[in-house]
Amino acid sequence: MRFMLLFSRQGKLRLQKWYVPLGDQEKRRLGRELVQTILGRKAKMCSFLEWRDLKVVYKRYASLYFCCAIEEQDNELITLEVIHRYVELLDKYFGSVCELDIIFNFEKAYFILDEFLLGGEAQETSKKSVLKAIEQADQLQEVRAVSIEDLSLTAVVLS
């Protein structure tokens, strides 16, 4: 896979993951053009298209488009299911995920993606294993979060 983009129906990028080295400007240009291309397509059209020298696979979930640019020899159908599995992972983690979850917890969306795909290839396709890794990390975080809130409470009391 060359890159993955999540964007809204209004064309706002919500997540971008690049697996090939490109300059920031180039990324912005590619992103902008591809988003426009896909938003210009009608519903019920094929989920695959040739775009420049790339194969593009995309699917819309509610207000969000998930879009992957893949290599010539990559499998389109399995890429569609890569997208679906990622949606399932987000859904399981956030609980009925919606676009807002991804906006406000963008870092989590990136972490989950890194557990699932690395370097553009599937690293772990088991839903359980990916979620276990993320939950473990969260447990490490929650301990910390409580102590911070305690501190700020004390601060309020003191003042």
């Binding site: 990028l13 080295p21 300059g23 920031d24 912005r28 397509r41 009608k42 059209m45 094929c46 989920s47 695959f48 298209l49 040739e50 020298d53 979930y61 509610a62 010539e72 499998n75 159908l77 399995i78 569609l80 299911e81 890569v82 679906h84 599995r85 399932e88 987000l90 399981k92 956030f94 609980g95 009925s96 995920v97 807002l100 979850d101 406000f104 917890n105 963008f106 870092e107 989590k108 990136y110 972490f111 690395l118 370097g119 290839e121 599937a122 690293q123 772990e124 396709t125 088991s126 839903k127 359980k128 294993s129 890794a133 990390a137 969260d138 975080q141 929650e142 910390r144 979060a145 911070i148």
Partner: protein
């Protein structure tokens, strides 16, 4: 909410989110400040408000980072995360890298994680930081804490830079194969290594590890196999011999998966399909190798493939699209492998039948993939006939599919399944489709029709008709290669010449015929008009008048071609001599502002008056047959489509029996003959008194010498601008009416630019005026007073204007030149960017390596540097690069950079108010076809502007 299956997955559970809290802060340690900030940004009503809010936040963060009070880890993490959010919104971030790097060495997982994410997204090749980052990664890799190790590996995989490959490519294989490495770490290590290998293959040496890596295919843990196989596939493609033991391992793994029940693999079963990802990857790996030699292995594999084909016929275990997608993903990958082997007729035909079913499936995605996959099947001798049976369905798809990308696939498949038996039908369908085809695919369709018509022509009159139809229907999309080719073929086959002359003569009767038709018509009548001259309806004079009636509507190259046709007429039909000489003698020819036309008119006129009939007949003899060679159209199609998409190679290597129009032995291929198209028309060689004598247009020749007269007109303005960054003279603009050439010279902070406006028409330009405008504040940075110009420009004449330029301070915008004039009543208005760029005021500075690096270090503040990494657009030839860098105006310093591949330059930009020293470094990476360009100067705006300009030059 996300719809479909995903929503149902979560719908039954209560939301864990507390609605009273900040929206959507759900898990882990929600960073409250971050959520507030994101909320604020979302509430911004305008782009300006957003930018204002962001700037406020940036100022706040900057002061926090710069403040005396040491920040705790949580705050640092929060601010770094905000910066990351701002960057992802599309804004530039120029600080915070150091704080992110600090987070890497935090022993709190959460802080480390954010630090790594920031580095992954915003990697900066600042060498000092890279060293620190690599140190932190090194610590985490040796920490033996699997979560820390994974984070570090993810970061390497996300960045994938050469520096990281240098630091870790030796260590990671060790981690990958070590017996005590945790599974999750192995998975990350495998894909991390893959990314490094793709970026820097020379640094990743598997050597002693090869066999242990291959044996990961046997690993107990499915996740490890899934990750490792991507690495193994990539390595196998590059070193198939070293990895060939993977074939039998892959077959047995595949066999175990294919024969397992749908629940055997537990969490690796996806919607009742066992391990679809791994299955696809295994089938993909096998495509790196020929069929297994070992009979047992091969038997087992064929069994797997048959099972997969059988499963496609079984009723689905679930109605969900995920089930059928996963199942069919494996099926298509299996079919790819069957096609790759191309040795099992039984499997090939079964695959073809399966795809045939998909051609009429209600899922558009499946129809698309079936059409695509059948294209490759069509090129196998075993399945070609089976594919052909679907011709009606495919033609129907071309006509009725609602999605252009599907129609495109259908057109590709028709092209691939075409042979002698169905060529007439397919070509006719493609031609009729062309009339309504989407603009995006017309050019390619034209090429395909042209190739098929040539390839499978039984009689040449059909071929000629087809190409003329192409020009009629889609003239704009008929490239040079196509009409050159029809001429080549007509010249080489004398049985079709009379027919061709008759047909083009008829086609030219149309009142609005395409210019390409005029070209073909002019050429063919010039050569073979005599074959139809017996008929009074197409007598020589009628032919000439017909051609000449199109002359004034045509572009310069076509007119040039017509002039050559005229002189040939004088030879073929002496009775037309007086008429044609009259035309050549007219002012619009003999004084034409275009040097090529003028030269032809003068020379042809002279030739026709002084040469004897014999000399004339010898000079203007019929063109000799063209040497046979690969059709240049085919080359063009290949170039356009890239390898693999259309199986042109199959058509071209003559795998199927005979029938090639030009492949016959009668003329014999002659590969030593230098290539073709340039001289196809014999334009240069047909001009008998060629280039040596300077013609009356020599003034124009001098000024425009860099442009090569008669080339296609360049109408676009910005392009013109960018072409002049590294050169000072040439044609800035050209359209049908007007040509603008410039010559410029610069000294210190002063410059002078000569502008030449050439009227290319035979009609006067009235109210001709030019003005220069300065966008933004540019006027205070440079001065370019423009003297007035004569308001009348006669047809064919040229006027000149001198622009004096003074650079006051450095600048980024370019002044704009506006030209207005009336041509035959219509007001013409053209605006161009004048190529006055900051680099024009460069004074080269020679210096030795020690000086250079000393100054380089002095200019190390972040705002003094501008850097870009970009793809090579123009090839990476050393001499061309050097010429461009010299053209830039700096001194190209030899033997300064320790890496001889790199280029370094130095110069001083001279402005009236100050001098700005500039250092430049260009690092090509031939393998990746990329450059890294770094500019350092004492002024940030200069670095940035030069960097922007130069990044477009290489």
């Amino acid at each position: 909410l996300f719809s479909g299956a995903a929503r149902r997955v979560g719908a039954s559970r209560r939301k864990r989110r507390n609605p009273a809290k900040m929206p959507a802060v759900s898990k882990g340690d929600g960073m409250r400040g971050l959520a507030v900030f994101i909320s604020d940004i979302r509430n911004c009503k305008s782009k300006e408000a957003e930018i204002k809010r962001i700037n406020k936040e940036l100022a706040n963060i900057r002061s926090k980072f710069k403040g005396d009070k040491a920040l705790d880890g949580y705050s640092k993490k929060k601010y770094v995360c905000k910066l990351l959010f701002i960057f992802l919104l599309g804004h530039d971030i120029d600080f915070g890298h150091m704080e992110a790097v600090n987070l890497l060495s935090s022993n709190k997982y959460t802080e480390k994680q954010i630090g790594y994410l920031f580095i992954s997204v915003l990697v900066n090749s600042n060498s000092e930081l890279i060293r620190l980052i690599n140190n932190a990664i090194k610590n985490d890799l040796s920490s033996r804490n699997p979560t820390f190790m994974c984070l570090a590996l993810h970061c390497i995989a996300n960045v994938g830079s050469r520096e990281m490959a240098e630091a870790f490519a030796g260590e990671i294989p060790r981690i990958l194969v070590a017996g005590d490495t945790m599974d999750s770490v192995k998975q990350s290590a495998a894909l991390c290594l893959l990314r490094l290998y793709k970026a820097s293959p020379d640094l990743v040496l598997m050597g002693e590890w090869t066999s242990r890596v291959v044996h990961l295919l046997n690993d107990q843990h499915m996740g490890v196999v899934t990750a490792a196989i991507s690495l193994i596939t990539c390595l196998s493609q590059k070193n198939p011999d070293e990895f060939k033991t993977c074939v039998s391992l892959a077959v047995s793994r595949l066999s175990r998966i294919v024969s397992s029940a749908s629940t055997d693999l537990q969490d690796y079963t996806y919607y009742f399909v066992p391990a679809p990802w791994l299955s696809c990857k295994l089938l993909r790996l096998l495509q790196c190798y020929p069929p297994p030699e070992d009979g047992a292995v091969k038997g087992r594999l064929v069994e797997c493939l048959e099972t997969i084909l059988n499963k496609a016929q079984e009723p689905p275990k679930s109605k969900k699209v995920q089930h059928s997608n996963a199942k069919n993903a494996i099926l298509f990958e299996a079919i790819s492998l069957i096609i790759h082997y191309d040795s099992e007729p039984n499997l090939l035909v079964r695959a073809c039948n399966q795809l045939g079913q998909f051609l009429q499936h209600r899922e558009t995605n499946l129809r698309y993939l079936a059409l695509e996959s059948m294209c490759t099947l069509a090129s196998s001798e075993f399945s070609h006939e089976a594919v052909k049976t679907h011709i009606e369905t495919v033609i129907n798809a071309l006509k009725t599919e609602r999605d252009v990308s599907v129609r495109q696939r259908a057109a590709d498949l028709l092209y691939a399944m075409c042979d002698r038996s169905n060529a007439k039908q397919i070509v006719a369908e493609m031609l009729s489709y062309l009339e309504t085809a989407d603009y995006s695919i017309r050019e390619e369709m034209v090429l395909k029709v042209a190739i098929l018509a040539e390839k499978y022509a039984v009689d040449y009159s059909w071929y000629v008709d087809t190409i003329l139809n192409l020009i009629r229907i889609a003239g704009d999309y008929v490239s040079e290669e196509v009409w050159y080719r029809v001429i080549q073929i007509v010249i080489n086959r004398d049985d079709v010449q009379g027919y061709a002359a008759k047909t083009v003569f008829e086609a030219l009767q149309a009142p609005a015929c395409h210019e390409n038709m005029v070209k073909v018509g002019g050429y063919i009548l010039g050569e073979f008009g005599n074959l139809i001259a017996g008929d009074p309806r197409s007598s020589p004079l009628v032919q000439f008048n017909l051609l000449h009636s199109k002359f004034h509507l045509c572009s310069v190259p076509t007119r040039a071609l017509l002039l050559s046709a005229y002189i040939k007429f004088i030879n073929l039909f002496p009775e037309t001599k007086a008429t044609i000489q009259e035309v050549l003698r007219s002012d619009s020819q003999i004084r034409n502002s275009d040097v090529e036309l003028q030269q032809r008119a003068v020379e042809y006129l002279k030739l026709s008056s002084i040469a004897s009939t014999d000399v004339l007949a010898t000079v203007l003899e019929e063109m000799p047959p063209f040497p046979e060679r690969e059709s240049s159209i085919l080359a063009k199609l290949k170039k356009k489509k890239g390898p693999g998409v259309v199986p042109v190679s199959e058509l071209e290597d003559g795998k199927r029996e005979g029938g090639e129009l030009n492949g016959g032995g009668d003329r014999g291929p002659d590969s030593s003959t230098p290539s073709p198209s340039a001289d196809l028309l014999g334009l240069r060689s047909a001009a008998p008194v060629s280039a040596a004598a300077p013609s009356a247009g020599s003034l124009l020749v001098d000024v425009f010498s860099e442009s090569g007269a008669g080339g296609p007109a360049a109408a676009v303005n910005d392009d013109g601008f960018l072409r002049f960054v590294c050169k000072n003279n040439g044609v800035l603009f050209e359209n049908q009416l007007l040509q603008i050439g410039i010559k410029s010279e610069y000294r210190q902070n002063l410059g002078r630019m000569y502008l030449f406006y050439g009227n290319k028409t035979s009609v006067q330009f009235a109210s001709f005026s030019t003005t220069v405008s300065y966008p933004g504040e540019l006027q205070s940075h440079i001065l370019t007073p423009l003297p007035p110009v004569e308001p009348l420009v006669e047809g064919g004449a040229q006027v000149q204007q001198v622009l004096n330029i003074e650079c006051i301070t450095d600048f980024s915008e370019a002044p704009q030149l506006n030209i207005k004039f009336r041509y035959g009543g219509a007001l013409q208005n053209i605006t161009l960017k004048l190529p006055v760029t900051i680099n024009k005021f460069f004074q080269p500075t020679e210096m030795a390596a020690t000086d250079f690096f000393q100054r380089w270090k002095q200019l190390s503040q972040p705002q003094q540097e501008a850097q870009k990494i970009f793809k090579a657009n123009h090839g990476m030839d050393t001499e061309v690069l050097k010429a461009k860098l010299l053209g830039l105006g700096t001194a190209l310093l030899e033997n300064v950079d320790p890496n001889p591949e790199n280029y370094v330059c130095a110069g001083v930009v001279q402005t009236k108010s100050q001098q700005v020293g500039v250092l430049l470094r260009l690092e090509p990476n031939a393998q990746a076809q990329m450059y890294r360009l770094t500019l350092r100067s004492s002024k940030d705006t200069v670095s940035k502007r030069l960097c922007d300009l130069l990044a477009e030059q290489f």
